[in-house]
């Protein structure tokens, strides 16, 4: 029982990342009709926003410490962050320690700007082109973006830890009446799950309860009619692209402490996120979220050693297996609408 609870927790956590990325993908597809293979790169850039802010906060000057030597036997050069001088050592260290949460504020305008530039500069030229063209050009863009990141940050993963306050794990086992240490879960992953829930809720609320959201939803349903009413739907869709980029970016920022960011991390999530979108139903926002969590939980269960003993290798194919079954039984996915991607 404790193993099942643990894997549900794991699944919810994995599903959070899948759902956030898939939500952005669906927003872009639902509004602009574009299959955006560069969306994983936006997730990766979000994580590198955290890396960048961390580096900015660690911006240092060098002092020579005569009491120590470096690897060549010369006096050791020690980096002293400017924030130590500006705010004192203790406050400066706290600011550096909180680099990831602070990156949320830093990343939102950066990601919206990147999203808008991407849409206006490249993707808008492919609205009327076949989906295959869109996939090719956005996939190419993803490769360009990741190579740019690699050029500036290198290929090696860059550790970007969570604040010290969130180090360690919570013992759910003791809370739920199981043995201690049987169900432990890292604090930061719990924060990630809560954060994802807030972001998903905020996006739905934005679309449901604001005038802007209402117009966007109307445009998703019937773009032509909304245009005939004199509303500049293109402009709103461009903003939605920026918002979708920000959602992917925020998912990346908060993911940075879970796995050290590297230039390739977007590609690692991209294929899975597309499967999530397809299983959820192309263009369906609730479907993307539901499928994200569902596949996350299934993937976690498939990784249990007792499952692997019976079906070796199931952990590597479970998501695709479920996708095949769902698409055979429900060709439009779990919550797909008629007419989407069917022309």
């Amino acid at each position: 029982m404790d193993a099942i609870v643990l894997q549900i927790l794991n699944g919810l956590d994995k599903g959070s990342a899948y759902a956030l990325i898939a939500l952005g993908l669906t927003l872009i597809f639902g509004t602009l009709g574009v299959v955006n293979f560069a969306h994983g790169a936006l997730f990766m850039i979000g994580a590198f926003c955290a890396v960048t802010l961390s580096r900015i906060l660690n911006w240092s000057y060098t002092v020579i410490d005569e009491s120590q030597t470096d690897f060549l036997g010369n006096p050791l050069k020690v980096d002293v962050p400017y924030v130590h001088d500006w705010f004192g050592v203790q406050t400066g260290d706290t600011i550096i320690d909180w680099a990831v949460p602070l990156s949320i504020i830093f990343s939102i305008p950066v990601m919206i700007a990147i999203g808008v530039i991407m849409e206006r500069g490249l993707i808008k030229h492919f609205y009327k082109r076949p989906h295959a063209d869109q996939i090719l050009v956005t996939f190419g863009l993803a490769i360009v973006l990741q190579e740019i990141i690699k050029y500036y940050y290198g290929a090696n993963p860059i550790p970007t830890p969570a604040p010290e306050a969130f180090a360690g794990s919570y013992d759910f086992g003791a809370m739920l009446g199981f043995d201690a240490n049987t169900i432990i879960y890292p604090y930061w992953r719990l924060v990630y799950f809560a954060f994802a829930a807030v972001i998903i809720g905020a996006v739905f609320a934005f679309l449901q309860f604001t005038t802007f959201g209402m117009v966007v939803r109307a445009g998703m349903a019937d773009r032509e009619t909304v245009g005939l009413l004199g509303i500049n739907i293109d402009k709103r869709f461009t903003i939605m692209f920026g918002i979708a980029a920000a959602v992917a970016g925020l998912a990346g920022v908060m993911y940075a402490p879970i796995n050290s960011p590297n230039y390739h991390m977007g590609m690692d999530f991209l294929v899975l996120s597309f499967v999530v979108v397809v299983v959820g139903g192309m263009g369906s926002l609730p479907g993307a979220v539901l499928a994200g969590f569902l596949l996350g939980i299934l993937e976690s269960f498939a990784s249990m050693s007792i499952v692997l003993e019976f079906i070796p290798g199931i952990n590597q194919i479970i998501i695709y297996l479920v996708a095949i079954i769902i698409l055979l039984t429900r060709p439009r996915g779990l919550m797909g609408r008629k007419g989407v991607m069917e022309d």
Binding site: Q7, N10, K14, A155, P157, P159, N181, I258, S260, H264
Partner: protein, 447 residues
């Protein structure tokens, strides 16, 4: 009546000449003809096949720096580096066999197909007489087989799987880097001394060849000292989040987690394990411990503070104080501004060993070079006395057991050497079950 000129004396003379001809090593007879890419002018071209893109690009960049430094030293430039400490004095700083060393580079992308394609291109288009480099056992095995077919020498870079000089060994291939067996043999006594002999281990193993050989090596070495392996789970090579594999570890009753992962896999699995607070737990009345059998500095850098206090093994470390290591660190550090990685070290040494073998053999013919390397004993290259064993073309030397440093002074000062395991302790028979199978075959000089 016969008019034959055949005399007894003539027959003996002819027989002696023919016998001597047959007794001459194959490479000398081939030298009169040709071998693949025999250097014709005043230069000789070496092919450096390293990952310049993909996840190991940083490691590849360090390998390339080391090769460029080696070429500089071979051609008489710089401070000479390890030429000054190498026990063999065949290298004079005037290139190889008087020919100036030039090089071409290829990008393995850490993909076997791409690595073979780039090696093939360097051999066929650029005339490389030797291929060296790489950061993966899969790539090493693939390129080694290609070099065997093409008739050039392959001096492996960073490859740790037993199979490279085990079941996949080739006559034209040579490895200086240590292997999984040696990691297990070196680590186990240190683990037993630090954590005791009554331990329950849980292995997470990357689902490919290197992972299997490393798990087998560490399991057999630790079990021989009394440890019990409670579970061993294969993890997909493409896995990025290991939470679903790590979460069940504590439920298994294990008190040690062995991460048979390398590169990005290791960075992520170790980070995840530390996040789950495993190291803060008390299991079976013992502190829970994590072990990483193969360390690299670049991986340690990626995992950050999570490596603190965690044991592993490594081929070489820049903090060693022998004359060879000091000379290499000085040369590399002065040129590039930071200390070299173990990947840089093994690649630099391989380049020098190849050049030295050519000098001693008096030829670039792969068969001659191979014979010069087989059974070659040397010192002064940073690993103590080393033997290039003839039976499998594997170097045997001391192995370092390292631990993540608690208080690093720089981004390069992440590991500390806790024990230099003597070569005798990591030496195995050529037919040891962990490396059994395959055969070197015969050297192929190519054309």
């Amino acid at each position: 009546m016969s008019n034959s000129n055949l005399t007894r004396r003539g027959l003996l003379k002819t027989g002696a000449i023919a016998g001597a001809g047959l007794a001459v090593p194959t490479y000398l007879s081939a030298d009169g003809h040709a071998y693949t890419n025999a250097p014709q002018g005043a230069t000789v071209t070496l092919g450096f096949n390293v990952p310049q893109s993909g996840p190991y690009a940083d490691e590849g960049a360090d390998e390339l720096r080391a090769y460029e430094l080696a070429v500089e030293h071979l051609n008489g430039g710089g401070d000479g580096g390890l030429l000054n400490t190498f026990s063999s004095k065949a290298l004079k700083g005037n290139g190889i066999l008087g020919k100036k060393v030039e090089y071409v580079t290829g990008d393995t992308q850490t993909k076997s197909d791409a690595a073979r394609a780039s090696a093939k291109s360097m051999i066929e288009k650029d005339g490389a007489v030797m291929i060296t480099g790489g950061s993966s056992s899969g790539v090493a095995v693939a390129v080694q087989a290609l070099c065997q077919e093409a008739g050039v020498i392959f001096m492996a870079g960073l490859t740790h799987s037993n199979d490279t000089t085990g079941k996949d060994k080739r006559a034209n291939g040579f490895r200086h880097f240590f292997n999984s067996y040696m990691s297990g043999a070196a680590l186990a006594p240190v683990l037993a001394a630090n954590y005791g002999t009554d331990r329950k281990a849980y292995h997470l193993t990357a689902d490919y060849n290197w992972g299997y050989t490393t798990e087998e090596a560490v399991r057999s070495s630790t079990e021989a000292l009394g440890w019990e392996t409670v579970n061993a789970v294969k993890t997909p090579l493409t896995q990025t989040d290991f939470s679903s594999y790590i979460a069940p570890v504590l439920q298994s009753g294990a008190d040690v987690l062995v991460l048979n992962h390398y590169g990005g896999n290791m960075v992520n699995s170790l980070t995840n394990a530390v996040q789950f607070g495993l190291r803060d737990k008390l299991v079976n009345d013992k502190n829970f411990e994590i072990v990483v059998p193969l360390y690299s500095r670049l991986m340690a850098k990626g995992a950050g503070a999570n490596v603190k206090g965690i044991f592993g093994s490594t081929n070489w470390h820049w903090s060693l104080t022998d004359e060879g290591s000091k000379a290499f660190v000085k040369s590399f550090g002065t040129k590039y501004g930071f200390p070299p990685s173990q990947a840089a070290h093994t690649c630099y040494v391989q380049a020098l060993l190849y050049a030295d073998a050519c000098e001693r053999a008096g030829t670039f013919n792969p068969c001659g070079v191979g014979e010069a390397l087989e059974g070659f004993e040397f010192d002064g290259m940073g690993n103590g006395k080393t033997l290039y064993r003839a039976e499998d073309h594997q170097c045997f030397k001391d192995v370092l057991v390292v631990k993540g440093k608690e208080n690093p002074t720089s981004e390069f000062d992440l590991l500390e050497v806790v024990e230099v395991t003597p070569v005798e302790q990591v030496t195995y028979a050529p037919d040891h079950p962990q490396v059994a199978g395959g055969s070197l075959g015969t050297c192929n000089p190519g054309a």
